[in-house]
């Protein structure tokens, strides 16, 4: 993460004095964007730069579901399984995605391209069912649209 410190310094300027620990989440987001997950050396570097205890960083990492300690596939496919999506076909959609990619929920394809996860409400209930690939929402999905989407991801 050392190469990101100049960027972190810029983020820091937006916060009032005494808010150093607030930088934890924005920095972890940025590290994950850069490396794909948060590695041990990132934690060491962050503790040193921010002056927060390692315990606090570990706690935050284990608490928030979006932060990862392990890499995922190049495309992280996350399908919502909450109420409104389930009422619009999410249960079939999850089955379809898994079958098509030949993996179970929480698994990564052998070539490292796709990881499939299920998630709780993404705030896209009016355009259900929804799946997210990396950051991007894909709404009103069905099997055919999902096939086209996945085929386009190399």
């Amino acid at each position: 993460m050392k190469h990101l410190i100049p960027e972190f310094e810029k983020i820091k300027r937006r916060y009032p004095a005494g808010f150093e620990s607030s930088l934890l989440l924005p920095c972890l987001h940025r590290i994950q964007e850069d490396r794909g997950f948060v590695a041990d050396e990132d934690i060491d570097g962050l503790c040193e730069w921010l002056g927060v205890p390692r315990m606090q960083v570990e706690e935050v990492l284990s608490y928030y579901t979006m932060l990862r300690r392990e890499p995922v596939g190049r495309y992280h496919v996350q399908v919502c399984r909450n109420v409104s999506c389930s009422m619009r076909g999410a249960e079939r959609l999850i089955g379809h995605v898994c079958k098509r990619l030949g993996v179970g929920v929480g698994e990564t394809t052998g070539d490292g391209r796709f990881t499939v996860s299920t998630v709780e409400c993404l705030g896209s209930c009016g355009t259900a069912p929804v799946l997210v690939v990396n950051e991007a929402y894909h709404e009103n999905m069905d099997a055919a649209k999902t096939d086209t989407l996945l085929e386009g991801l190399k």
């Binding site: 608490y63 009422m87 705030g123 896209s124 209930c125 950051e135």
Partner: protein, 436 residues
């Protein structure tokens, strides 16, 4: 449109979220009026006079929350917009963030002036990618135009606005959990007192308001609190952005003036139930509000008093329409799984209770249900009520008790026969849809 529109009062286009368009619609004129002709106390007075209730779920009067802040206490005050929209069925704040981000920025500057805030935050859920980019772009535009930062609109007022991204936690939508998250900690809620308006972010007086509540400030200050109070229903002034989903023909976000008939809204404005099916029930405002049957909503109007009288609530405005023939056992299973997944684990009744509840409902669906299971679920719900720091444990209990009270026969049927009383699915069949 179901009544008067205050927030959705412009056509959404490819550029309507940008500063130039917002200004062409009269944007930031109210901020100028406030900064150049009003004292901070007067702003709070107008907000109090408007009677606006919080739009995040608790419906606490915004003016009363603000009044706790003492402007001359010599401490920094903080303002946070709660954009951690995560209550299942709710996606209304997302509409504001994506389509009217400047509305929020202008309103927050007004609120910041009233509360004498130097640093304000928008806590936005981490999954919201487009809303985050739209809002951050609006904030950047506002800085460049002298609408944020030092000497706003050439006055002595200065305020910085930070957009803070969450990282996946339902509980961070609870105000004290949200502040813990901004402090760089896990989002554990904490007991009150002290209230957050006394000791909030980094132990300083802090106001946390929902995005939609804040977005209304521009309207309130433009027309005056008394005039705003005349809109809507007597004890629910203004409008509510309602996000409607599930088995409804025209899902989406609608602005509903308080007092509008709920049945008319669902059947006329939203096109009724999918595939011509009959309405079974609705979740009125996010899954933490109790379900209301088709018969029950016939006389309900969309406002707090009417929903409360019917035994439920406006909640977070996230309405879910459920068609006749939907299996309520499976529906409750999805709800409980969610609560169990999102329990932060701090309080024992919630951490363990959600787990037990999840086990019981999974057991019933797997055909291992036993007599007494439903009573056990009700007991857990009761044990949770009021015994945890935040309202999440209670909320799961409400969902459970609400559904069991009205659809107990479906659960008993599954326990006895080992299968759903219907086909056990939650979606309306695609073939049926194609035929309709």
């Amino acid at each position: 449109m179901p009544g008067r529109a205050l927030l959705m009062d412009f056509p959404v286009t490819a550029t309507s979220h940008l500063l130039a368009d917002y200004r062409a619609r009269g944007g930031y004129a109210t901020l100028r009026k406030v900064l150049t002709s009003m004292k901070p106390e007067q702003v709070t007075k107008e907000v109090t006079a408007s009677g606006i209730l919080g739009h995040g779920g608790a419906a606490f009067p915004a003016g009363r929350k603000w009044q706790v802040i003492h402007l001359d206490d010599g401490q920094p005050h903080y303002l946070c917009a709660n954009a951690d929209e995560g209550e299942p069925g709710t996606f209304k704040d997302r509409w504001i963030l994506e389509n009217a981000p400047h509305r929020l920025v202008e309103s927050m500057a007004i609120a910041g002036y009233a509360l004498q805030v130097r640093h304000a935050f928008v806590y936005i859920r981490g999954e919201f990618d487009l809303p985050y980019r739209r809002l951050q772009a609006a904030v950047d535009e506002a800085y460049d135009a002298g609408l944020l930062g030092e000497r706003i609109l050439d006055t002595d007022f200065a305020m910085d606005l930070v957009v803070y991204r969450g990282a996946g936690s339902y509980v961070c939508g609870e105000a004290s959990g949200l502040l813990a998250s901004i402090e760089g900690r896990k989002g554990y809620p904490r007991n009150r007192p002290p209230r957050l308006t006394v000791k909030g972010l980094f132990k300083r007086p802090t106001v946390v308001n929902n995005v939609e509540t804040l977005a209304n400030l521009t309207t309130i200050l433009a027309m005056g609190g008394e005039a705003f109070k005349q809109i809507g229903a007597p004890k629910s002034p203004g409008t509510q952005l309602v996000s409607i989903s599930g088995h409804v023909s025209k899902p989406g976000v609608y602005e509903v003036e308080y007092g509008y008939p709920v049945a008319k809204f669902i059947y006329d404005d939203c096109g009724g139930v999918l595939a011509g099916r009959k309405l079974k029930c609705i979740v009125p405002g996010g899954i933490s509000t109790k379900v209301l049957t088709a018969a029950e909503i016939e006389t309900v109007t969309y406002d707090h008093a009417s929903f409360t009288k019917a035994g439920s609530g406006v909640g977070s405005g996230g309405m879910i329409v459920i068609a006749e023939g939907t299996c309520m056992v499976r529906l409750l299973q999805v709800m409980i799984r969610f609560y169990h997944h999102e329990s932060c684990g701090q309080c024992t009744p919630c951490r363990d209770g959600m787990g037990w509840m999840h086990k019981l409902i999974d057991g019933i669906v797997a055909g291992r249900g036993q007599s007494g299971d439903l009573e056990r679920m009700e007991l857990i719900a009761k044990a949770n009520d009021g015994t945890t720091i935040c309202g999440m444990g209670d909320a799961c209990g409400y969902a459970v008790v609400g559904i069991l009270a009205k659809y107990r026969d479906e659960f008993e049927y599954w326990i006895v026969h080992g299968r759903s009383k219907f086909d056990g699915r939650l979606e309306v069949d695609a073939a049926e849809l194609a035929h309709a």
